[in-house]
């Protein structure tokens, strides 16, 4: 062995360890980030309401929801790794222009609605700290735009991963609310369901906010962007599963915080801001502030990702240049869509007297209409042997997936019916 060889062997142990670490960081991220963006302003509002109105009695639903989430997300990640293509790309190639156009139009509208909800979340959370929405929303919009357009992708991803850590705020806030852990355990492990309209609506809404159509597009694109290879897929799958569990643990603690306080005191809330305010006198100033901070973090985080990913997969499907590494002249459609989503999304929040609640309801409806189609397309793609080869859904997984999809679709249709009834009641 040459002297160089000896020197090299001496560094191999250190290098091997370092390589393993960088290999992990080269793969993880998409799953965790997707899962956390899922707990956005709308999600937090739903979980708060579930806790405030039903106490701990719906906690158990989070367990089957987690399984369904893992099932769906794993499929997306796998398709991304095996085909190296985004979901909108695959739908375009397999189902043609027309289907793609309508799907993406619905997605665009739904995501615009979701973006409005995120900026509304920013406005509400900072109003608790006494900052006017006419300051916070324009500032947040500018921050989001500059972060993504001017920052480099690596730094942006790191900021996103740090944002994930701040979800701990909800865990602490749930702990500060001093729940009765015995009752919590019963609510988590013993499935009970009141067959009343409000309870059923709540369950359906919980499912609907947790498994959203845009997530599937985002996750798959993020996995493709990361260039995860087949050999590294097991790590990527862990990332996805871990992310799904984290999502629902956070959701669990939000339900817990509101169940231990607002439900016990017999209060009622309409949105996440009400929840944060109601926590103040019941669980202390810190719990309330942490809850509001969590809402701000989640809203800003989702507002950074939603417009970007929407612009990204629309351009991908229609073959327009996309990506933040392209200059504005190179990718005009991409930058137009991205900017328009932020400007319109933030702008709508600032128009006085606009029925924001109705708008968000509408976006949730668009989400609901879209989900069945997306799920069916995903399942058809994931079991296609020509596309997925040996990594396609096997017989058992196919059965479970179709059954889960059928339940999700049924629940979604029920949710639509409920929300339409509420809208016209």
């Amino acid at each position: 062995m040459s002297s160089a060889g000896i020197a090299r062997a001496a560094t191999t142990g250190w290098r091997a360890r370092w390589m393993r670490l960088t290999a992990i960081f080269a793969v993880i991220g998409p799953g965790i980030i997707t899962a956390n963006v899922d707990n956005d302003a709308g999600g937090i509002a739903t979980y708060s309401q579930a806790g405030a109105d039903f106490g701990y009695s719906l906690l158990w639903t989070l367990i089957p929801i987690t399984f369904a989430l893992i099932l769906v997300q794993e499929m997306c990640a796998r398709m991304g790794v095996v085909t190296g293509k985004g979901l909108s790309d695959l739908i375009r190639e397999r189902f043609g222009v027309k289907v793609t156009f309508w799907i993406l139009l619905a997605l665009l509208l739904a995501n615009l609605g979701n973006t409005v909800a995120e900026f509304a979340g920013v406005a509400q959370s900072l109003e608790i700290f006494g900052i006017s929405r006419f300051v916070s929303v324009p500032f947040a919009a500018a921050f989001v735009w500059i972060l993504v357009v001017k920052g480099n992708a690596k730094i942006v991803e790191r900021i996103f991963l740090v944002a994930c850590v701040f979800y701990v705020a909800y865990l602490i806030s749930g702990y500060l609310a001093k729940p009765d852990w015995h009752e919590v355990a019963i609510g988590t492990l013993k499935p009970t369901l009141q067959f009343t309209g409000p309870a059923l609506t709540m369950v359906v809404t919980l499912v609907g906010t947790t498994i959203a159509p845009w997530m599937q597009f985002y996750l798959q694109s993020a996995v493709v962007e990361k260039r995860v290879s087949i050999e590294d897929y097991p790590l990527s799958r862990l990332d996805v599963i871990f992310g799904c569990i984290v999502t629902d643990v956070v959701a669990f603690f939000i339900v817990l915080a509101c169940g231990a306080t607002i439900f016990k005191a017999g209060g009622h809330i309409e949105d996440a801001k009400d929840a944060a305010l109601a926590l103040g006198p019941l669980a202390g100033k810190y719990a309330s502030s942490l809850f509001a901070f969590g809402l701000f973090n989640a809203s800003l985080f989702a507002a950074s990702i939603l417009p970007l990913s929407t612009a990204y997969y629309v351009c991908e499907a229609f073959g327009w240049e996309s990506g933040i590494d392209k200059r504005r002249e190179e990718a005009p459609q991409f930058y137009f869509l991205y900017t328009a989503l932020i400007v319109v999304g933030a702008g709508l929040v600032l128009i006085p007297g606009l029925p924001l609640l109705k708008l968000m309801l509408l976006s949730q409806t668009a989400n609901g209409v879209l989900l069945p189609f997306i799920l069916v397309f995903m399942l058809l793609l994931a079991q296609d042997g020509r596309l997925m080869g040996q990594y396609r859904n096997g017989r058992v997984l196919s059965w479970i997936s179709w059954a889960t999809a059928a339940i999700l679709v049924a629940l979604t249709i029920a949710m639509l019916a409920f929300s339409l009834r509420d809208a016209f009641a």
Binding site: A4, R15, A26, D89, K98, R227, G319
Partner: protein, 431 residues
């Protein structure tokens, strides 16, 4: 031409159709007739990939009933092929499906897919195909990647055209079609056996390596693999050198290790070392073991240095001169060594023991009297480095003394390698 006339003279070539263009999207799904009865709908057109700039449609694929099997009709058996109506010679024209490996099914493998525009070095998505009728044949002329193609596929062309014409008659939308001539198009199918890259291969090899690297980055994984495997070793090595670390890692794993080793040999040793740094130790060891021992040793030596130090940035390839030469012989020596050395701006004068004794910029050699001695011309290099100097120091010194390259010496004064300004630039831009 009237309908009646068509009915009386159904035989091709239809004179009035000669030289007209039509779109694939208009043809697909058209009902197909034979002997007066409807036999199915048009599912696909099969094109023969030749060097012909306008390749001929060789056969049709017909779908007899929904979800039923596809059938094949040779072009010679097609009487009429127009939007809304396809006529065959007879019912026996319908043959069972065969799949000659060299044919491209346009709808299945080109429409809606990504393809490579070798003229502009861009990856585009195909919205439609522009076909030309010529002397009884149907030929592929262009690929439509424009917005209008999308509108046509949606079935809205008439409505959208009318609206645009009414609102802005001079709009570029109406006149500027984004067509790419077929000869510049490189369809990238995913099936391994059906790869037809030879057609545009020469066009690809002429691309700048940086463009090629960008194209590779734009493609999805399968197409990247297809394209990369087909590249000649030299071109592949150059594209690899220009790619980002993540893609390098992916690409090098896509080819068999013997070819990968060949590519590493074709790369400058410092670039090869940088690439190997990104692999696991076992992967990089197995590649090194398959390289020529001489080249492998150079790369291995570079690998012993920390990536973030002068040692990790240097290349062992530089112009070496002996102090006993004269300027004229030295220039001949530069030409001789230029095969393996990329950087020619500076020459380094070494003693018999490999110690650095002086430095002469090429400019000086060129302008000098051929009889002038190297010993008299050479200067002391103003910025001599040790292997563990930091990249910041390297960049500072290069900027301070306006240098194209800087020597790295061992503790006992042997010249280990040279850091060139392009590697300094990349490091500065990245950090």
């Amino acid at each position: 031409m009237s309908r009646q006339m068509q009915a009386r003279h159904p035989a091709p070539p239809e004179p009035s159709l000669e030289g007209t263009f039509l779109f694939l999207s208009e043809l697909l799904e058209s009902p197909v007739f034979a002997e007066g009865t409807r036999v199915g709908r048009l599912a696909d057109l099969m094109v023969e990939p030749t060097n012909d700039p306008f390749p001929r449609i060789r056969a049709l694929r017909i779908q007899a009933r929904p979800r039923g099997p596809l059938q094949r009709v040779e072009w010679a058996d097609v009487v009429l092929c127009s939007p809304g109506r396809v006529e065959l010679k007879s019912l026996s024209s319908l043959k069972p499906l065969i799949m000659p490996p060299d044919e491209i099914p346009l709808s299945q493998e080109v429409l809606d897919r990504q393809m490579l525009d070798t003229n502009d070095a861009k990856v585009e998505r195909v919205n439609d195909l522009h076909l030309l009728r010529a002397r009884g044949d149907l030929r592929v002329a262009h690929v439509d990647v424009g917005f209008r193609g999308l509108v046509r596929r949606m079935g809205w062309q008439r409505a959208v055209d009318a609206i645009v014409r009414a609102m802005a008659p001079g709009a570029a939308y109406l006149t500027r079609e984004q067509f790419i001539p077929w000869k510049y198009v490189k369809p990238l199918s995913s099936g391994a056996s059906r790869v037809r890259l030879d057609v545009a291969r020469t066009a690809l090899a002429d691309l700048h390596p940086a463009d090629l690297a960008e194209i590779l980055a734009d493609l999805d994984r399968r197409k990247r693999a297809v394209l990369f495997r087909e590249l000649p070793v030299e071109a592949a090595a150059e594209a690899l050198e220009e790619s980002t670390p993540g893609i390098q890692r992916e690409l090098i794993k896509m080819v068999d290790s013997a070819k990968a080793a060949d590519m590493l040999e074709a790369m400058p040793p410092d670039a090869a070392a940088d690439l190997l740094e990104n692999l696991t130790p076992s992967e990089s060891d197995s590649l090194l073991s398959q390289m020529e021992p001489e080249e492998a040793r150079e790369v291995e030596e570079l690998l012993t240095y920390d990536e973030h130090s002068a040692g990790g940035m240097m290349t062992p390839d530089y112009i070496r001169l002996k102090p006993t030469l004269h300027a004229g012989d030295a220039l001949a020596e530069v030409r001789r060594q230029a095969d393996t050395v990329e950087h020619l701006q500076d020459t380094y004068v070494l003693s018999a023991g490999g110690k650095l004794v002086g430095w002469i910029p090429l400019r000086m050699l060129l302008l000098a009297d051929p009889d002038e001695s190297i010993k008299a011309m050479m200067q002391e290099h103003p910025a001599r480095l040790a292997p563990d100097d930091s990249p910041e120091l390297v960049a500072d010194l290069a900027a301070k003394y306006d240098l194209y390259s800087l020597p790295v010496e061992s503790a006992d004064g042997r010249l280990l390698g040279v850091i060139t300004v392009d590697d300094i630039l990349i490091r500065v831009l990245r950090d």
